[in-house]
């Protein structure tokens, strides 16, 4: 299972990677924003993406994945500080499979991953 972690914060990428590693996912690549990530999606099985990023934000990134022929089926978990209800609704409508609000505990991340994989 190859995972990509997309976030402009290196701290956040490191925390998500550490959590994933503890859950047994070790094939992990990183990107700093949506544009960067779009060039790295070959062979990726699951995407974790932030919302607020430079160059290309997470919402635009999700929309471009969902409209691409090769990548549209990859499950996406959005991990963001955006906690307003209307933002969550907008993200889900844009094609996000699950949503984690920062700050989060490892248990929360784990349950969201399981929910996405057991769909």
């Amino acid at each position: 299972m190859k995972v990509i972690v997309v976030d402009d914060s290196s701290t956040m990428r490191r925390i998500i990677k550490n959590t994933l590693a503890r859950l047994g996912y070790t094939d992990i690549i990183e990107a700093e924003h949506g544009l960067d990530a779009l060039t790295k999606l070959d062979g990726v099985d699951m995407i974790f993406t932030d919302w607020n990023m430079p160059e290309m934000d997470g919402l635009t990134f999700v929309k471009s994945i969902r409209s691409s022929d090769s990548y549209k089926k990859i499950p996406i978990i959005m991990v963001t500080t955006e906690a307003a209800k209307e933002d969550i609704v907008e993200a889900i409508q844009s094609g996000v499979n699950n949503y984690v609000v920062k700050p989060f505990t490892p248990d929360i991340l784990k349950s969201k991953i399981e929910a996405v994989l057991n769909r």
Partner: protein
């Protein structure tokens, strides 16, 4: 001044530091920062805010508090205000502003938040136009004090 909007920031600050850095900050009494009044700090993270509330939210740390937070967040040793600390302070500011945004949008104030800006330097502060009140909320942890400064013009029309 309506201070109803301060509580969501207090909550999101405590939530960010307890969840991500295993710290339990205690809070002091908020005060209005006067023109030219300094805030004790070595590093700060600021998030610009625009919408029905506009201005900015800044969290300011001493070097020792900032290092402790990053050590707890990442499980690494930190001996200076390096890139890891700068990035983490920006992301903490992001969590404080984003968390408060969620609660405030339910109270009818919606706004957008910008990307974090991090500043380093002894006791630096930003001067705002006089019509924007800056409320400082002091917090403390074992390693020392830190401050969350909320400089917002809130659009109270009909609320």
């Amino acid at each position: 001044m309506n201070v109803e909007y301060l509580n969501p920031f207090i909550k999101s600050t405590v939530n960010a530091l307890s969840t991500m850095a295993c710290l339990e900050p205690s809070r002091g009494n908020p005060y209005l920062r006067k023109t030219g009044q300094k805030i004790e700090c070595d590093i700060s993270g600021t998030i610009g805010v625009a919408g029905e509330a506009s201005g900015s939210v800044t969290v300011s740390f001493s070097e020792s508090v900032a290092r402790k937070i990053v050590e707890n967040m990442l499980g690494i040793q930190v001996d200076s205000l390096n890139d890891d600390v700068k990035d983490a302070v920006g992301e903490i500011a992001n969590m404080i502003a984003g968390g408060a945004k969620g609660e405030l949008s339910e109270k009818g104030y919606s706004f957008k938040i910008a990307l974090p800006v991090v500043c380093i330097g002894k006791d630096h502060y930003t001067e705002y136009p006089k019509d924007i009140p800056c409320v400082v909320i002091p917090f403390s942890v074992e390693e020392g004090a830190f401050y969350v400064e909320i400089c917002l013009k809130v659009d109270d029309n009909g609320k």
